[in-house]
Symmetry: C2
Subunit: 255 residues, 2 copies
DNA sequence: ACAAAAGTGTTGTGAATACACCCATGC
DNA sequence: GCATGGGTGTATTCACAACACTTTTGT
């Protein structure tokens, strides 16, 4: 490995895989595509695709997100690099190194993207069967990361439409964490954090059809939560985040 | 991008870059190598190298770490994936996608690795001149990440030798964060977290040559800090961690 | 009237801060 | 003795959890 002979090695393919989440009706859902061909024909897989020669992985991820969701404007969506999966045997066909990204969207349209996706669908995160490649692990890593970031960032608003109620924001937390939160305390905490949300003066909206109309809020410009909004100590908590060595990994091609 | 023609695209090189930190005498230091050839001849760069065809990026990172530090046993060291840098123009020679790793070590030997490193040295993190490629950014990202993880994990012990005093542990925090901490409170916080450290019964050691001998501790088996040990609100705090799009990136070849 | 959902108030407990103070050692 | 660093105690402040209660809507 001295010089820079481009063809010194078997080439590596570099791809992106997308773990796209949304919260709909109190259920955490992930965007998945059904594979039409081997390997893993018939299995669900994460959307993704090759990084093109002149784009960065981040650019490729946003391009794939647009193709896969069919959304016209994907520029405002939250998209964040998760980690890279590079086990040599991730993909039986060839050596594929995949940079995984996590995306969060509000009120998703049914996909059927304009892109090449065979059949893209939103499926509930809980109770997913085994996915193709190591996509189970990627999706689980993404879920863990999103759950953790809700604690110390204002990320939750990325799941919400431009105008939302505090109840809806709370439901994001409860859905991602899988725990119930105390409404008065949640409310105080959110409002006490400057820049997390800003109230829209006159606006209000009914949420469940019944009950008092709720005030509407917009996402603020803050990005961090100080102090954090910690989830109640319940689960044994994975806690030791992504390690270096033991990282299975795989990738999915959508086209 | 339909099939799987291995040579459909200009090949991507996949490399690892290492941001290796240590704390010596209250100074945060990074392991860097001096580049002997263009591009960036004479500049300092992160150690790193190609991922070989049959190894994962994590395996490659640990191999490079051993080569670069010259340490016989590198298996116990903390090594963790940071993120991947993939801007198309990172390296002027060809398309290089680099998976960056962060490593932490205690009381480092002077490098001069058995490896191929031209001239590897520990340099103080503060006041580093511009590094080769986008290694400035990688190193800054790594520093930010380590600082953040000290808050909510037991990572600090990775900077310490097998037996250490609480004063030394505190110095790790102070050095990485660049802030002073209250000793009594730090002590209570650490001891109140079960599994963070465990005292070695009879042992004690002088630290500064003067003063009362300090009790010795070993790293415990805990991995998370609940509740976290937050750094005093001071710096504007980058807070919004790695985003997707704006990620310059580069790589360094050591051989 | 009742249910459902938003919103407010209060109170007790625990944690973090900011100190003051004592102990052991080298010089 | 004094400087240096380890170790203990304590009071104030702050944040949070828990829960009772009021308000506004639809049925």
């Amino acid at each position: 490995m001295e010089g820079y002979d481009k063809y010194a090695f078997e080439p590596f393919a570099v791809t992106v895989d997308l773990a796209v989440f949304t919260v709909r009706a109190g259920v955490l859902q992930a965007l998945l595509i059904e594979r039409g061909q081997e390997p893993f024909a018939g299995h669900w897989a994460l959307p993704g695709g090759f990084v093109l020669p002149d784009e960065s992985a981040g650019t490729a991820a946003r391009r794939e997100l647009a193709e896969e969701t069919g959304l016209a404007d994907v520029s405002g969506l939250h998209l964040e690099q998760l980690r890279t999966y590079s086990e040599p045997d991730r993909d039986p066909r060839m050596r594929v190194v995949s940079v995984a990204y996590t995306a969060l969207l509000p009120d998703p349209p049914e996909p059927r993207g304009g892109g090449d996706a065979a059949s893209a669908r939103w499926l509930p995160y809980d109770g997913l069967g085994p996915l193709a490649f190591d996509h189970d692990r990627i999706l689980a890593d993404a879920h863990e990361r999103v759950g953790a970031k809700l604690e110390y960032t204002c990320l939750a608003t990325a799941f919400c439409p431009p105008e939302f109620t505090l109840g809806e924001l709370q439901q994001v937390y409860e859905t991602v964490w899988g725990t119930a939160l105390d409404r008065p305390n949640f409310r105080r905490k959110v409002l006490a954090t400057p820049g997390f949300v800003e109230q829209i003066p006159g606006a209000a909206r009914l949420t469940g059809g019944r009950g008092k109309p709720a005030a509407l809020y917009r996402a603020g410009d803050a990005t961090a939560l100080h102090p954090p909004l910690m989830r109640p100590a319940s689960a044994p908590s994975p806690a030791s985040a992504p390690q270096a060595s033991p990282s299975p990994s795989s990738e999915g091609r959508s086209s």
